[in-house]
């Protein structure tokens, strides 16, 4: 695993999640940020800050990215979502096109 192949997602509270680019690309929004030529500072530093997304939600989203990769490779498990997270998670997922 090389550093260039990872991306750091930073939550509203400044917590950092270092994940594989492959996982982050599950989000169309992050995919666009990381692949548009030159226009996003994010693509150069490999860091994306989400001032609107809380740490708990951002971690759940990262878990979802990895679950998505596992599911795509044939593993059939449910993705657990605590009821109290649902609304905020939906808003974040909508923003991230996930």
């Amino acid at each position: 695993m090389k550093k260039e192949d990872t991306v750091k997602l930073i939550s509203a509270e400044g917590f950092e999640f270092v994940i594989d680019k492959e996982a982050a690309m599950v989000s169309q929004t992050i995919h666009n940020m990381l692949t548009s030529p030159g226009s996003f500072a994010e693509s150069q530093h490999g860091e994306v800050t989400f001032p609107e997304i809380s740490t708990t939600i951002l971690e759940k989203i990262c878990q979802y990215f990895y679950w998505h990769l596992q599911f795509a490779s044939g593993k059939e498990t449910e993705f657990p979502i605590e009821p109290e997270l649902t609304l905020e998670l939906m808003m974040a997922a909508n923003y991230l096109h996930t």
């Binding site: 917590f15 708990t56 990895y66 490779s73």
Partner: protein, 103 residues
């Protein structure tokens, strides 16, 4: 991809792809690529039991499963390892419940 684990230290979480048959040393070598600490100066600890994971054993042998949280500590200047330090976000749901009590 078989599984991943969440390696946490302070306010940072590293999602590491791995296999149940990976040895703990393999995980440290992956981490070494991401952080400026050689595998030898890293220690991985199960946060619940404070059990230190052994380099030569596999994840499966030490019951580290998919989505598990593992604490990362570094060797300090005096050759000892740091205490486990995982910062959690303030539980905003509790604070929200507190707000609703005032309504």
């Amino acid at each position: 991809m078989d599984m991943y684990i969440r390696v946490k230290r302070s306010k940072t979480t590293y999602f590491i792809k791995c296999k149940p048959s990976d040895k703990v040393l393999d995980i440290k070598e992956k981490l070494q690529e991401l952080i400026d600490q050689p595998a030898n100066d890293q220690r991985l600890v199960l946060p619940g039991t404070r059990e230190v994971l052994e380099d030569s054993k596999t994840l499966a042998e030490q019951k580290v499963e998919n989505d598990a949280v593992v604490a990362l500590t570094f060797r300090k200047d005096d050759n000892e390892f740091e205490e486990v330090n995982i910062v959690r976000p303030n539980d905003f749901y509790q604070s929200r419940d507190g707000d609703s009590a005032n309504w």
